[in-house]
């Protein structure tokens, strides 16, 4: 007997790749009366699922022995981060492994600011001890165990110093302080000085797109714009409260965001700096630090109220709020260069790593997954005005002290408005129409 092993195929199997069974659909909306309802349900599920999978906190970098005063992520290398603390220590971190690469006892007093050069090769730091240190990164790596390494250059400032910011294109950096100074690598003395008024400047930032423009916030409640080419300030605007920090929009170099002590952030257009274009509200205490995403579409702010908030660049209220039970006042925040992560340095000696999109999966995502998430996002966007979905998407769990404070502020605002309204009603003709809020916050524009 002979047995043959025959080839057999079931009906469902395809003989070749080409014979695909086509599915024909009727696109006429009359044939699909339930499309809207089904999509609504999907959107609802998507919002709920997003809430369930929202785990923004990725991890903490601990090692500093005092509160972290300043941090900055490298603009070139995604894995590097530099931080300075109140005890004058500087640490350079490797984020994927979450360990310190280099530890430096750089300053004798608090580190006021740290900054990477555009290529990630140089690090500048300024301290309260009136010194500015310039480090060479490869050189530091060579002797990574030595905590008392000498810097490549050490610059001495006559006056007190604020933060330091490296130029994005040139080998220059600017420091805030009693006088705003622009330094060159090769010169022991500042190549440029700006002084306008008596009070010192707390924070300066170079425009990432235009290396000639510097913006600063001063202790006399002003926001000042400097031009390096003309070697002079351009104009300043005095606000009601002092501003601590600022950030330039890297994609739209006309706009800056300022973190104010009145717990708001303000967006200014430098063409018309007389009035802010937008007020971003949600914090309940002074904003200590702001940083723009490299996509230019959102910015992150760290506040004295122990929270981090992510604001869309064109919305008045925050999209996201991050807080932790052990996280104290946030001194500094920074965005990663690929706009995926946020780093925060706080008074509790830790640097924390957060996801920008709380429910986003970290790691390799295949195409089908991205398509599905895109669809979910699009649905959420489509149905964001429906009350139920809006409510769920908007809801955030907040600690008690925040909730109470928020309620209190709301009540205060309402009562103030009520008082104003009643006064107007009872004394007709005596009151002028109240100024818009943007105008109220501005004291003076000086040219």
């Amino acid at each position: 007997m002979v047995k043959f092993n025959t080839i057999c195929r079931s009906g469902q199997e395809r003989s070749t790749n080409a014979d695909i069974t086509k599915v024909y659909r009727n696109p006429n909306p009359k044939v699909h009366p339930l499309a809207h309802a089904r999509e609504y349900q999907r959107a609802l599920v998507a919002t709920k699922v997003e809430k369930i999978y929202a785990q923004p906190f990725l991890g903490a970098l601990n090692g500093h022995s005092d509160g972290v005063s300043c941090i900055e992520a490298c603009r070139f290398n995604l894995s590097k981060l530099v931080s300075g603390s109140y005890d004058g220590e500087i640490r350079i971190w490797d984020i994927p492994s979450r360990r310190t690469l280099i530890q430096l006892n750089a300053h004798q007093q608090m580190v006021k600011g740290v900054s990477f050069s555009r290529d990630g090769m140089r690090i500048v730091s300024s301290g309260e001890d009136k010194t500015i240190n310039l480090y060479d990164f490869p050189q530091l790596l060579e002797q990574s165990n030595n905590t008392f390494q000498d810097p490549l250059m050490r610059y001495l400032s006559k006056g007190t110093l604020g933060n330091v910011d490296h130029n994005y294109q040139l080998s220059q950096f600017a420091t805030a302080g009693q006088v705003v100074q622009v330094w060159d690598y090769e010169r022991p003395k500042p190549i440029m000085k700006f002084q306008w008024g008596v009070d010192s400047v707390s924070c300066v930032k170079y425009s990432p797109a235009d290396s000639n423009l510097i913006c600063g916030t001063s202790m006399d409640r002003c926001v000042i714009l400097y031009d390096v080419r003309a070697e002079s300030a351009i104009h300043k605007v005095a606000m009601l409260n002092k501003s601590q920090c600022l950030a330039w929009n890297p994609i739209e170099p006309l706009n800056i965001v300022i973190g104010n002590d009145d717990s708001n952030c303000y967006t200014y257009d430098i063409r018309k700096i007389e009035l802010p274009t937008m007020i971003h509200k949600d914090h309940i205490s002074a904003v200590m630090s702001v940083a723009f995403s490299s996509s230019g579409r959102e910015f992150v702010s760290g506040s004295f109220d122990r929270t981090i908030r992510i604001f869309p660049f064109n919305k008045g209220f925050s999209r996201e709020v991050y807080h932790g039970q052990r996280m104290q006042q946030v001194n500094s925040v920074s965005f990663s260069a690929d706009a995926q992560f946020v780093y925060s340095g706080s008074n509790d000696m830790n640097i924390r790593i957060w996801k920008v999109n709380a429910s986003q999966k970290v790691g390799i995502i295949n195409q089908r997954e991205t398509n599905a998430t895109n669809y979910r996002q699009a649905l959420k966007e489509k149905f964001k005005y429906n009350s139920e979905i809006k409510r769920i998407a908007k809801h955030r769990h907040l600690p008690k002290y925040l909730m109470n404070k928020k309620k209190q502020r709301q009540e205060m605002k309402e009562s103030k408005n009520r008082k104003q309204r009643n006064a107007e009603l009872n004394n007709p003709g005596q009151y002028e129409a109240p100024k818009p809020e943007k105008q109220q916050r501005i004291e003076q524009f000086i040219q």
């Binding site: 603009r75 080419r229 104009h235 706009a339 895109n374």
Partner: protein
């Protein structure tokens, strides 16, 4: 020698210099001696001249002050301010370079930060430069120049066309302005003018054409009226719908035939009474001629233009066919001289009915004739005419038949009962037929005719014996449901009012003393009477009615209640980003899912606005090289 010479020369030069100095001093001395040139002297001379000294002094002071202002050094603050102003103007100019980039980013549907853009632009610019250096580039340029020349020529030709179009545009503008005039007087004048022109045109036309024109006008009006919403209750339209045209004209048409028949009858009767003889030939000739005329008229009407409304035309046709068939039947009958043409048909029906009777006909021929005669009394117009003709020929026969019938009745009372049954049956059928004839509704007619033509079974007959009116009543009720418009309308209005009553706020419980003041000297209010309460209610309902959407729509009830279940799919109010609801709907009605879209469109619809990727560094914005070169 040389040395000596040198010394000598020096001496000579010195001597010359000294001489010169001496001369100068001498001259100076001479001058001073001649006139003392001092400020005091100058002023003295001026004083001598008059009072001009003061004006000079003031002028001098002014000049001095001006000089001081010009020469005075600025303060540091002022200098800084000026610098700042200059810097600001420079910065504002410089910043403009970002505007197109920012604008483009903001307007673009999505920004993909995972791609590098600047590279492509630089490549294009490089290639374009390289092209210009080659022969190909030169050729291209020449070709472009030629194309430009041709275009210039075309422009010249186009100028005349442009003039025309300009004129037309001007005319359009003018017409627009005229159409926007709102004054009534202007419109009246315009209308009068238009009417005059129309009349002139009409006067030029032949009468036949004129009729056609008028018919067209009527048609257009009818169309307008019918297309108007809820104006179908209009008298004109309702008549159109009911009678397929003017009620009067239709009635005239229908009565025309009847009149002829009546006239014929009357003539026949007269002849009968006067002479006892009937001039058959004359009568026939007259009748035939009249009937022929009638047929011609009907044919004409059939050929006439149709109303363009299907249902109206059908009805007209039916009516005409009916009258035609009757007229043709009469004609054939009169021409042939046989009166049996119609009689036979009816007798067939009778036979059908009589076949079902389970009691057999005992009297053969006699009975049949009797039944015929009796049936003739109940049947319609055609039979009535037939009777007259029978009279002439079979007068005596008929009388005989009557007498024989009476005899028969006397003889057999039992059979009479049976006959009565038959009579009842027939009366019912006739009444039904009459009902149908009065109503020109095709469907109901057919439906009802079926019922009429149904063969009665034994059970039915038994039923009829018990109460014969039952079936009739049932059918009449059906008719009322469909046909009695007034009742239907009333019911609808009642429903509407009920709906409005539900909207009324609940009445407070009428407890005495509540909601009124109490105490000494207060007059007690009389409670409202039932009439007052009703009137109040009616008032409230009327107020509600005004607010309702269906206030002016008699035959419509629009429910304004909101479905709670559905509300979750809707947005409570229009978001501030949108100007109107249509805009919002347009953006939000489109389904995004793969079930309702092709895969490509699904992926395109669901792409996020900003595409970033973990691990891809996003650099700050840069000015493209081309623009940078220009700057």
């Amino acid at each position: 020698m040389g040395k000596l010479n040198k010394e000598q020369r020096l001496e000579k030069q010195l001597a010359k210099k000294i001489e010169k100095q001496d001369v100068y001093q001498q001259i100076k001395l001479q001058e001073t001696q001649e006139d003392d040139f001092n400020v005091a002297n100058l002023i003295q001379t001026l004083e001598d001249q008059g009072q001009q000294i003061d004006s000079v002094k003031t002028q001098y002071l002014r000049v001095q002050e001006k000089a001081r202002i010009v020469q005075e050094p600025e303060t540091q603050a002022e200098r800084d301010q000026q610098e700042r102003k200059v810097a600001a103007t420079v910065m504002k100019q410089d910043i403009k370079k970002w505007l197109p980039i920012v604008k483009k980013n903001r307007e673009s549907e999505r920004i993909d930060f995972t791609k590098q853009r600047n590279v492509q632009i630089s490549k294009i610019s490089d290639t374009s430069n390289a092209l210009l250096n080659n022969h190909l580039g030169v050729k291209l340029q020449n070709a472009m120049e030629e194309v430009e020349k041709v275009e210039q020529k075309q422009e010249l030709n186009g100028q005349s066309n442009q003039q025309k179009s300009n004129l037309q545009f001007y005319n359009d503008l003018k017409m627009k302005k005229i159409s926007s005039i709102k004054s009534k007087i202007y419109k009246q004048i315009k209308k009068k003018k238009g009417n005059k022109e129309k009349l002139k045109l009409m006067a030029q036309l032949t009468p036949a054409e004129r009729r056609q024109e008028i018919e067209k006008l009527r048609l257009s009006r009818a169309k307008e009226r019918i297309t108007l919403r809820h104006s179908t209750k209009n008298k004109f339209v309702s008549q159109l719908l009911r009678f397929g045209g003017d009620k009067k004209s239709l009635k005239q048409q229908q009565s025309f035939l009847n009149n002829i028949k009546h006239q014929l009858l009357a003539k026949a009767q007269l002849n009968e009474l006067e002479d006892g003889e009937f001039d058959e030939e004359n009568f026939r000739e007259q009748a035939i001629s009249q009937l022929e005329q009638e047929l011609q008229d009907i044919e004409k009407r059939e050929k006439e233009k149709q109303n363009n409304f299907g249902f109206l035309d059908k009805q007209k046709k039916q009516d005409l066919q009916q009258s035609k068939s009757i007229a043709q039947k009469l004609l054939t009958m009169l021409k042939s001289g046989n009166d049996d043409a119609i009689q036979l048909d009816e007798s067939d029906n009778q036979e059908q009915n009589s076949d079902d009777n389970y009691e057999p006909n005992v009297n053969g021929d006699k009975d049949k004739s009797n039944i015929n005669i009796e049936n003739n009394e109940f049947n319609g117009r055609a039979n009535f005419v037939n009777e007259t003709k029978q009279l002439t020929e079979t007068q005596k026969k008929r009388i005989d038949a009557k007498t024989s019938l009476s005899n028969y009745l006397n003889q057999e009372p039992e059979k009479l009962q049976q006959q009565n049954k038959q009579e009842k049956q027939l009366t019912i059928q006739d009444e039904k037929k009459q009902l149908i004839e009065g109503l020109n509704i095709k469907n109901i007619k057919q439906k009802y005719e079926k019922q009429v033509n149904q063969k009665l079974t034994n059970q039915d007959l038994k039923k009829l014996q018990s109460d014969p009116d039952e079936l009739l009543q049932q059918n009449l009720a059906n008719f009322n449901l469909v046909l009695d418009e007034d009742e239907n309308e009333n019911a609808f209005i009642d429903e509407k009012i009920k709906d409005m009553e539900e909207e009324l706020p609940p009445e407070p419980a009428n407890t005495k003393g509540w909601g009124s003041w109490a105490g000494f000297g207060i007059k007690e209010k009389k409670p409202l009477t039932q009439e007052q309460i009703l009137q109040n209610k009616i008032k409230k309902i009327r107020e509600i009615q005004k607010k309702r959407q269906d206030a002016k729509l008699d035959n419509v009830i629009i429910s304004e209640k909101r479905d709670v279940k559905f509300s979750k799919y809707l947005v409570p109010k229009l978001p501030s980003e949108f100007t109107n609801s249509e805009q919002f709907d347009q953006l939000h009605t489109l389904p995004l899912g793969p079930e309702w879209n092709s895969l490509t469109s699904h992926s395109a619809l669901t792409q996020p606005q900003i595409i970033t990727k973990a691990g891809v560094v996003i650099n700050p914005v840069k000015i493209p090289q081309q623009i940078n070169k220009l700057i």
